[in-house]
């Protein structure tokens, strides 16, 4: 009954013009990577201003990842993944939810560190940053494959799937 309340799906199989998830993830990818770089530079140069920049970027990334997941689930549900794309889409979904927990945990840890002493962070936190960076980069690679290799939500793939050519 609710499908009648939504706008009709367009030639990208979306109820709105273009995919939104890849836009929201700007604010997860860029903020995590830049926040980690700021923390590393601050640690090496003792420029404590950059710790503050690292912290705020992590806060922004943590808020953004939950919005990214909401749009990601909507667009994954409308993606008509064909056989070759399904495994990577599932892994991207699993890793996305896991990253939200990891990112929220790291930012919470950072909140406590910053409350105690905003001018320093422990090496164990920096190593957690490194783990986070590796997972984010792998997640970006999976998302890239979904868009640029499998072409999910591109016009040609949606047309082929609707025509029954692509299963």
């Amino acid at each position: 009954m609710f499908e009648n309340l939504l706008p009709p799906l367009n030639n990208h199989n979306l109820p709105y013009p273009d995919t939104i998830h890849p836009i929201v993830v700007h604010f997860v990818i860029a903020m995590v990577l830049f926040g980690v770089v700021c923390d590393a530079i601050a640690f090496l140069t003792k420029n404590t201003k950059l710790y503050e920049v690292g912290w705020w970027n992590m806060v922004f990334a943590t808020i953004s990842i939950f919005i990214a997941i909401i749009f990601g689930q909507v667009e994954a549900g409308l993606a008509t993944p064909y056989a070759a794309a399904a495994a990577d889409l599932n892994l991207h979904t699993l890793l996305g939810w896991s990253l939200s927990a990891l990112l929220a945990g790291i930012t919470g840890w950072r909140y406590i560190i910053r409350l105690k002493n905003p001018a320093s962070i422990p090496v164990s936190y920096l190593s957690m940053n490194a783990v986070l960076t590796a997972i984010v980069l792998f997640q970006v690679y999976l998302g890239d494959k979904l868009v640029w290799v499998y072409g999910l939500h591109t016009e040609a793939v949606v047309e082929a799937a609707r025509g029954g050519l692509l299963k």
Binding site: P22, M31, F34, E52, V53, V147, W148, E159, L165, K167
Partner: protein
Amino acid sequence: MSLWSPILAAGANGLPYVVPIHPNLVHLTLGLFIVAIAFDIVAALYPLEKPIFKFLAIPVTTSGLYDVGWFNMVAAAIITFFTVAAGFYEIILAEPSDDVISPWGLGAMDTMVWHGVGGVLLLALIVGMTVWRGFQRYLWREDRARQVDWSYLLAGLFIFVLMFAQGTLGAHLGGDFGVHVTADRLIRDGLDPNDLSASTPFPETSLADASPSEAVTTLPTTEETP
């Protein structure tokens, strides 16, 4: 065979690597610029937000918020040179579908030209904003509580609008024209993207199964397959 053909010898996506680089650098350009402006706005309006941060028990200094506005903007300016460079490389290698018109009524070539011009314009604006921001931070407003002029924040919001248009053109290049999308290239060559080694044509039975109303004019028939 030109001198460059080994370098340009690309996969099915028309690139000598598996996924395009430009859209990934775009994440950094847009994320860094938008967050830089956002934090300057949050800092400039801090008196209004003070109770919220207090309720959340997050200690805030406006100088820390302005640091985000400054360092994120510097990073956006640096990374965007690479974003534009990668974009032009991948435009040069683009083989867009020339029988498609975008939702904005533009063909592939027009969309690529506008996206290219827009990229250079935005690079100039981002670098200009960074220089403007630097002068405000270190010279003109060094002794002011509010580190940025309102006109700087308004200019940033205006650039958001340009970025939205530029991003939509870029989305058309990938999503509608299929530029550097492996599956789209394969489908337009009559191949099944389930086989990424690009050797399996769509079976004729599948073509027959497609109902005429849903059949797609751009899908080639099997006689075009190698």
